[in-house]
């Protein structure tokens, strides 16, 4: 019986078919011959074979999961199987499942695992930097670690909040039973898992030396590990595009009666803004990487200066994607912050329209600033004042988010629960991140800080201090709702304080080290910086240990202690907390209707009268 379950369309079949597809593609690729392909022949590298292998491997993986079943059965005129709608059992977490709640949990575990690997790379980087000269890794391994850390984090965390939490909660929050395209929703997740695995295979092909930005022409000199980077980021871009499309379609078309645009929870607004960015920016990345893949295989010369191309072209294209990308990372965190503050201040969100304006303003402006990454590159130098202005203008909508957060705290009744602590830490961290960003936006200051540890510390303050802290806020806030089991609060507080202190003790000094003249991504540094670097490394190890503490807490609470979570442990007035924990498979028996804004703390928008709550009839528990 058990054995019977292992056969069929599931993760096991997917891995088998994925590996088989990989080797078939590898063989097929080697059959392709041509003069331009022999260009690098003397190095024994065959990029065509590797690209074909990655492609067929991913196709095999998806077929094994069962993504081909529906279209094939339709084409054969048979009624499609509804197996993926299977409602019971742990097995549905290991295959194609179209339940948005299952996909949310799959995302949480899957992305969590890859981000953990990315974090381990950071530990290895900081280990090397304990000493100013060579310590443990040679130049190539060090750069590969840097590249794997950056690429994994920037790729995986694009869906770090939208994947687990928006997939799970956006349908609930707008009163829908599912996403607009459930099979595409599942596809976005499994594409990411295939992508993460492919990136890890870079290690088997000599790694890649370019960091997450993959600048030309270094990316064309690089070993076959670079192909893993290209395949990874293209798949991530595909997943992002589909995720954004799906989210937008869901929010536009599937809102329940009464859920007007002015009543959308602010987290849903941040999802909308992020989805638009994903939909418009990620295709640029995919096409850039396609050009790069052609350069590496068919010997075109898009980015090759010797062949008449230009590395500037790559830098431009990459940052046209790359700057919206960092707001794809930042915006969901702002949504989480403004979603959580009202709950634990017992106040409505202050300045709802201002917050929405802020998010949409960031979304629009983020497309107009990309050349601030190229201030000293010599490209379009006359336009530097414009990009300086547009970059500094982004601090206006970002300021809206701050003032809304502060206004929500005003005259509130603040409870310092673990989610609230993480949300408050966002304010502090993002403040430091934003202020350090001002130095990078100002051209004369940027001359010193560009490409230094200062800019590295700056974006860790905004991405780690913003995104990861709000990710943890969301984990502590929502995971009991998702799994039905509480997370230990005392261990959570210890986790918060070690993480917050260690985070600032890591990246605060890095701002100073950057000011003192240490460039990014170097394996050696000036001797007089050793004391500061050792301090940073030790702090980074403590930061890593705080993550282990979190994982221990999560596993202990969810697997061993299993204290059932109350339906509404936080006293939240958001709709998902009016449902039982965990949320029943069919969410609601009847689609709810909404009669007020989502934050009726102390009365709804019309006055002090108790607010009419959404009318919900939760589905009966099935387990």
């Amino acid at each position: 019986m058990k054995l019977r379950r292992l056969l069929g369309f599931n993760l096991l079949t997917a891995v088998v078919l994925g590996v088989a597809g990989y080797y078939v593609g590898w063989w097929l690729g080697h059959q392709v011959k041509g003069p331009s392909l022999d260009y690098f022949g003397d190095t024994g590298q065959n990029d065509v074979a590797l690209f074909v292998a990655y492609f067929t491997g991913v196709v095999g993986f998806l077929v094994g999961l069962g993504f081909a079943n529906y279209p094939v059965q339709r084409m054969l005129g048979r009624p499609p199987s509804l197996r993926e709608k299977e409602t019971e059992g742990i097995g549905r977490y290991f295959g194609l499942c179209t339940d948005h709640k299952v996909v949310g949990i799959q995302y949480l575990i899957g992305i969590g695992a890859f981000v953990f690997i990315g974090g381990l790379n950071a530990m290895l980087i900081r280990f090397e930097l304990l000493r100013p000269t060579h310590l443990a890794w040679n130049g190539n391994n060090y750069l590969t670690l840097v590249g794997l850390h950056g690429t994994m984090m920037m790729g995986m965390m694009t869906s770090g909040i939208l994947g687990p939490f928006a997939n799970y909660f956006v349908p609930l929050m707008i009163g829908a039973r599912r996403m607009a395209f459930p099979r595409i929703e599942a596809l976005t997740f499994w594409l990411l898992m295939a992508a993460g695995t492919i990136l890890m295979t870079a290690l088997a092909f000599g790694g890649f030396p370019t960091g997450w930005t993959g600048y030309a022409p270094l990316n064309e000199q690089a070993n076959m590990g670079m192909d893993a980077y290209i395949a990874f980021f293209a798949l991530v871009g595909l997943s992002m595009t589909l995720l954004g499309l799906n989210m937008l379609a869901t929010v536009i078309t599937m809102r329940a009666p009464g859920m007007t645009w002015g009543r959308l929870p602010i987290f849903v607004w941040s999802t909308v803004a992020t989805s638009i960015l994903m939909l418009l920016a990620a295709p640029v990345l995919i096409s850039t990487l396609f050009m790069l893949a052609l350069d590496r295989t068919a010997q075109t010369g898009f980015f090759n200066a010797q062949a008449g191309g230009s590395p500037y072209l790559y830098e431009n294209l990459f940052w046209i994607f790359g700057h919206p990308e960092v707001y794809i990372l930042a915006l969901p965190g702002m949504g989480i912050l403004l979603e959580i503050l009202p709950v634990f201040a017992r106040k409505p969100l202050w300045g709802y329209r201002l917050a929405v304006t802020g998010m949409l303003g960031i979304m629009v402006l983020s497309f107009l600033v990309w050349q601030h990454h190229l201030f000293v590159s010599g490209i379009n130098a006359d336009l530097r004042p414009f990009y300086m202005l547009s970059t500094e203008l982004i601090s206006l909508p970002t300021g809206f988010i701050f003032v809304c957060a502060l206004g929500t705290l005003w005259a509130g009744r603040i409870r310092l629960t673990v989610p609230m602590l993480f949300a408050l830490a966002w304010i502090f961290n993002f403040l430091v991140g934003g202020l350090s960003g001002v130095f990078l936006s100002d051209v004369p200051s940027d001359v010193t800080t560009h490409g230094s540890f200062f800019s590295m510390a700056h974006f860790h303050y905004t991405i780690m201090g913003g995104l990861i802290f709000s990710f943890f806020a969301a984990v502590y806030y929502w995971v009991p709702k998702m799994t039905g089991f509480e997370i230990d609060e005392r261990l959570g507080k210890i986790h918060f304080w070690t993480m917050f202190v260690a985070f600032n003790s890591t990246f605060g000094p890095l701002l100073v080290i950057g000011f003192l003249g240490m460039p990014r991504r170097v394996v050696t540094y000036a001797g007089y910086l050793q004391g500061a670097n050792d301090w940073v490394s030790v702090s980074a190890f403590v930061l890593g240990a705080s993550m282990l503490l979190f994982i221990g807490n999560l596993v202990w609470s969810q697997v061993f202690a299993r204290v059932p979570a109350a339906a509404n442990p936080w006293g939240s007035k958001s709709i998902e907390f009016q449902l039982p924990s965990p949320v029943p498979v069919h969410d609601f028996d009847r689609i709810p209707t909404f009669g007020s804004d989502p934050y009726p703390y102390g009365g709804d928008e019309s006055g002090a009268a108790p607010a009419p709550r959404p009318i919900i009839t939760p589905a009966r528990q099935t387990r």
Binding site: Q306, G378, E392, L393, L406, G412, P444, V447, T448
Partner: protein, 277 residues
């Protein structure tokens, strides 16, 4: 009641700013990077100090507010059931005040940054082949050639001699012409406050005028491959007479190999690409 909170937060912000602002400008400011070894570096120090000063009131306000909120706006100790706070959904005057003050600060920063950029010849950053802001008078061109993984330097006004050491005369306006033969590098002369990317086939110009003699650190600031971490150098600023004798000595030293060098050009045909780590 709420206006007394506002008054206290305002007072604390004003007092805090009054204490922190002079400290930032007069104590922290002079220590801002990259020091005062050159004109553009000095201008960057000024810039950094002004940025700090503009940010200070906003930072103090947010931190004061956060601290005050966490102390005062708390759920009373021992209160078991949840009591909602007042249903405040916005306050137009404070939103307008916030918008106005941040807009003024941002526009000031953008205008100030632009004037600094133009007034001080690009303030040390690479301004492309033909920068908008150029220094007047005579300029000494020095070509910086990045290649995997070292910088070499050519002096076109001294017969195009190429050396592995960077030596510049004090008090002379220097134009660094930065270019690359392979990957993208970035020429970062930290103490001089100069950074310019080295792109293959591109002449990227940055101006600087050293204020006193001494040494400065040169590092590559753009990831350029395997030995990027080892691509550093020490430059020297010397007086005019030392420079003249140094460059004359180099010309004699390298005279036998001069005929093998390519003719001096703003940029060179990039090397063919190899698979190299």
């Amino acid at each position: 009641m709420s206006s007394s909170h506002a008054r206290r937060i305002a007072a604390l912000t004003v007092i805090g700013t009054a204490i922190v602002l002079p400290l930032v400008v007069f104590v922290l400011g002079p220590h801002m990077p990259p020091g005062k070894s050159s004109q553009v570096a000095t201008s960057q120090v000024t810039d950094n100090t002004v940025l700090l000063a503009v940010m200070t009131p906003f930072t103090v306000f947010i931190l004061v507010y956060l601290g005050y909120a966490l102390r005062v706006f708390r759920q009373p100790r021992g209160e078991r059931e949840l009591v909602d706070g007042p249903p405040l959904r916005g306050h137009m005057p404070s939103q307008v005040a916030w918008l106005a003050s941040t807009t003024v600060a941002v526009l000031f920063l953008a205008i100030f940054g632009t004037t600094e950029l133009l007034a001080d010849n690009g303030a040390g950053g690479g301004g492309g082949p033909d920068p908008v802001a150029k220094p007047g008078g005579r300029v000494l061109p020095v070509q910086v050639i990045g290649q995997q993984w070292e910088f070499t330097y050519r002096y076109p006004t001294y017969g195009g001699v190429e050396t592995a050491q960077l030596v510049i005369p004090v008090g002379r306006e220097i134009a660094f012409h930065v270019t690359s033969l392979d990957a993208v590098h970035s020429f970062w002369a930290y103490e001089l406050g100069v950074k310019a990317d080295a792109n293959p086939g591109v002449d990227n110009v940055a101006y600087v005028k050293a204020k006193h003699t001494g040494t400065f650190h040169v590092r590559c600031a753009e990831l350029c491959g395997l030995w990027h971490g080892y691509m550093f150098d020490t430059g020297r600023v010397v007086d005019a007479a030392t420079f003249r004798s140094w460059i004359a000595a180099r010309r004699t030293q390298f005279a036998p190999v001069a005929k093998y060098l390519p003719k001096y050009a703003p940029s060179y045909a990039p090397d063919p690409q190899y698979r190299a780590g």
